[in-house]
Symmetry: C2
Subunit: 318 residues, 2 copies
């Protein structure tokens, strides 16, 4: 009988879920909108029905469990706590509620999305066999998952790995968390857009390809496409993003001495436009004993299904 | 028969060693100068003789092994690698050489001094029972030892935990490692002296108690004593040091989510002069989910023997 694991990824807009086989392949998937209002009972019921529909399509299987990636997910308690971009207030006992619909399923595990991605990379991706590595997810923010001695770093309360929330400029940009100058305000899809607008403003660059979009419209993909056309502002965005990211990665190497650092998310598709300045900046800021040792690699998880695969890996590894 | 462990601490000036009992008490100790010239064979021979003399004084014992704390110590290989303040160049196979004089001793372990201190704190000090904590040693530099899931973070090559070498000001003070703006250039005994001289210069404070000593002479203890007499420059040094240290500790909380952070070293004796601004700065820079959770505590290891006890704990715990 085939062994499968369920992965659920709870995003601000959509909730996706799927059945993952032992090779890390998604063999069935579904999707519902993440509710805008706090109707948690209906939400749990909708997810459960979706998963049962998927499992019903399979011919005999052994289900290893359900893994969930969610913002502010607490692996110790199975709770989602004070997530700002979800409608559920306070502390939500998510795994307890979900288990009621899956009494046969003993293994239900929840953590944040970047931690799930790190586990996914370790089980199915480029970090197979590595005991010490760092996963960085570049999206709306910058998420982190750190593996030390083969185990994920959850910390005392389950919320460790907030790698986007270290200070790179003491009086710098306002961060969504309420602090200032954090790494993710510069190095994330959103941070790149902020840098583009800062540069447009600074250089009064009305002739830039990026000068045709509003602050709400512009995406990191637009910046990538403008860079491919040699737009100087777009090219400068990549240089600056890589410079700041590489400097922060040097700090992380001094702290963790990882074998490799994996980058995941939309901006990673820009390839060497992002990797080259990042690598150069990291190497130039490393202490001698760490130079030319640590690889910066693109994640091997597939963009479209990585969140499901990563979440499922939380239970597949047990 | 009593179980004992040997601890050796290799410093730039002196090498101290001692016999530690199961309660973490040093029951015999010795000291030799760390050589200025590279005569490693004589150095190993002198240490070995010193230890054998100590053991000879005991009435029956079972020796658990020898733990060594040394700059740039590599726990995986037992080597001291490219330590800038020791006369031994390149990569020194320290544990291999020492074992030749102690063939009966199977357990010889070497790591850097801050890691040894962290293990000491966990076995004999204030971190008993903690699975996730951070040890910070404030001396000539700022050393770090991090425990995650009950295990020390050594990283892929054994050199993780360089917590003094994260960047707090991108174009800041020159660091001994060759980089700029690192935490230890501000928050260490040496960093405090640098801050004092910067402030004397900035305020042209010829009337400060600190204006009577040369840059070579001034110590963090002088600054403490001047602060006790309400010297404004000395008081400002503590405010600035605590402010920068607390901000960096907030970053470390975001990364590690520790149960507590222990401070060790000369400046810690200054008590609330250092702890108050550090605590306030850390709390003000924490993300909401981490506020009022993480304790900053003075190490419970005794200053005079902590290095020996910490080093011995490397083998006592096995």
């Amino acid at each position: 009988m085939d062994k499968v694991a369920i992965g659920i990824d709870i995003g601000g807009t959509n909730t996706v879920f799927g059945v993952v086989n032992k090779d890390g392949k998604v063999i069935a998937k579904g999707e519902i909108p993440t509710p805008k209002k706090n109707d948690i009972n209906k939400y749990i019921s909708d997810i459960s029905k979706g998963i049962k529909d998927l499992l019903g399509q399979l011919n005999g299987y052994e289900c290893l469990g359900i893994g969930i990636g969610a913002p502010n997910g607490n692996i110790y308690k199975g709770t989602i706590e004070h997530a700002t971009n979800l409608p559920f207030k306070g502390i939500l006992p998510f795994t307890t509620m979900l288990k009621e619909n899956f009494p046969e399923c003993k293994n239900v595990v929840l953590t944040n999305d970047a931690n799930a991605a790190a586990i996914g990379e370790m089980i199915y991706g480029g970090a197979k066999g590595m005991k010490n590595f760092i996963m960085i997810t570049l999206g709306t923010g910058l998420g982190g998952g750190v593996v030390v001695n083969g185990e994920l770093v959850y910390g005392n309360d389950g919320f460790a790995g907030e790698l986007g929330h270290i200070t790179v400029t003491a009086e710098g940009r306002e961060c969504g968390c309420g602090q200032f100058g954090h790494l993710e305000t510069y190095c994330s899809a959103t941070g790149m857009v902020r840098t583009a607008f800062e540069l447009l403003s600074h250089h009064n660059a009305t002739d830039s390809l990026l000068a045709t979009k509003t602050f709400r419209e512009l995406t990191s993909k637009d910046i990538y496409e403008a860079a491919l056309q040699d737009d100087p502002i777009a090219l400068a965005v990549f240089e600056i993003t890589g410079d700041i990211l590489g400097h922060a990665l040097a700090d992380y190497v001094h702290i963790f001495s990882p074998e490799a650092i994996f980058l995941f998310g939309g901006p990673v598709a820009s390839g060497e436009l992002l990797f080259k300045p990042t690598r150069e900046s990291m190497e130039s800021h490393l202490m001698p004993v760490f130079k030319n040792k640590v690889k910066i690699l693109p994640s091997k998880l597939k963009m479209g299904t990585a969140a499901i695969v990563g979440a499922s890996a939380l239970v597949a590894m047990k």
